[in-house]
Amino acid sequence: MQPQLDRHLRFTLLSDMVLIRAFEDRISELSRERGRLPGMQITCHGQEAIAAGVVRAMIEQDVIVTNHRSHGHMLARGVDPKTLMAEIMGKRDGLNRGKSGTLHLADPGRNVLMTSTVVGAAPLLGMGAAFAQNYRQEQAATCVFFGDGAAAEGSVHEAMNMAAVWKLPVLFVCESNRWAGAQGHDEHCPIERVADRAPGYAMPGVVVDGNDVEAVYIAAHRLLEACRAGKGPAFLECLTYRMHGHGEMDVQHYVDKDELAAWDKRDPIELYIEVLQTEGLLDSRDAVEQQAVQTVDAAVAFADASPYPPPEEALEHIYVQPIGQEG
């Protein structure tokens, strides 16, 4: 059934994307201040339509397993931007008490189950989560996000194979952004469309314009419904482009400037604002953008005010039942 894209949903998709962009723009800015954001920041600039489109197509019981570029998935899922920002800064009041930083974010309470930054590992975890949904006969599915670069890993094959043999409710979402580190698509992938592999696992492989948020939403909605209905796994490839590098320190010296500029003209947020304005649904973008900036300001203020956790807390959270306290 074709989902209803009502006015409220369309504004939600827009405001999600605008919030993700504002949040990550601030991360880019902060990452240039030495010491403010420890480690490597990996963003989903240019891929916001996939995060918003897929995540808003999910129902509450659906589960997310994500990867390096997880901020968008988390924000669209409703994870608190304050604790998210505090976590990215490594602060005590962070979502994961400073143990994760940007790379391993998890919010199981919102069904953002796990993040793996071992490239290509997330699909195996998502397959396992979908097994649990199937085992309990829940009307729910798991969305696992990975890139076209990750699709070179054998783990992705194993996950797709087992999910298909057992008809598990998992949607493999390939965010094809054309890059794997500094290797372009043609250098890491022998076929143009990763989704062409899906029929080899007896699952549908759907390709959408990943910069068209409504197209992503509609495709994800349809495939997730099929997953929940017991039709087995599905593969959704969202064609997009990695606008920032593999980390904010990556100046993308290996990227063709004209190609980058061409994709910049297809910015998913600008495209959607144009659609909504053409249809007379959006007078001015200012209100939604101002609200996003205020949310991000509040998140940064919260994160700045939070202290670093004490070093000794590094000894905690290894086991549920710590060694030496058995039985």
């Binding site: 994961n96 998890a106 071992v118 194979n161 290894i318 549920v320 058995e326 039985g327």
Partner: protein
Amino acid sequence: MTVKSVGQAIAEALSLALEMDEGVFLAGEGIGTSININPHLPTHQLLERFGARRVRDTPVSEAAIAGLAVGASCMGLKPVVEIMYFPFFTLASDMIINHAAKLRYLSGGLSSFPLTVRIKSGLFSAGCQHSHYLESWLTHVPGLKVVYPSNPADAKGLLLSAVFDPDPVVIIEEMPLYWSIHDEVPEGDVRVPLGQARLARQGRDVTLVTYGGAVHVALQAADVLAEEGIALEVIDLRSLLPLDTATVLASVRKTGRFVTLHDATRFCGFGAELVATVAEACHGELKAPPRRVAAPDIPVPFTPPQEDFYRPSAETVAATVRELVRTS
């Protein structure tokens, strides 16, 4: 109490766990329909009893078996997966080492992974791609628990503890023990706590610490030595991580002499950790330097005389202990 083989004891633990908790399921290659029919195999007839929902034969896909366990356990199930032969654990290791062991830590305690990995181990004339003792790889990973039973009662009791432990546990099963070792096993849900060693034989002269099938080799050596008037104390660790340091140190303080024994190769083997632990804690109380008995630093050979050469024997253990007593 009933006399059972190690394999039957494990099967009983698996049956009990499946009966007691709907969240427990088994998965692995050939755990339901196996190419072998043998009543001493731990998953013999479990498919017939519990059905294909609870007992899942998987594709030949170790990373997926482990990924299944990690993903499903994070959702609150209690997976018990089998890796058919220790060397194949390398294919599953990313999921267990980088994910099961680390994601709780990285989540700041929000996630947990109550999974159990049963690894079939041992020497069976198949060469080093099917036989390789890798337990010290596993004990080097904070976030995992590693257990290693030597007899039927412990195999059952440790496995039950592993299945219901809230953290990821790897249990290493030596296949030859499945059918070669029979002993009494308590009925019902009787668990052996993780992290408690067992005094397998009391002695005053030398402490020998070991685990798994090597426990039986140590006991054979102890019989030989007893005839010569040397009383060997044998400690069966049962769990390598958590490690029962207290029991080991108390014994060493009593005897003043220390030997470790394992079937894994010597260099960076688990014995090295035990020797270091003992040396740090009781240097002044030792009558002689600690000794390690282990396999030579070679891959497991195929041909029977060489496979026997690989495995530390009771004679080697006895000779080492004799020398230790003589020189101190």
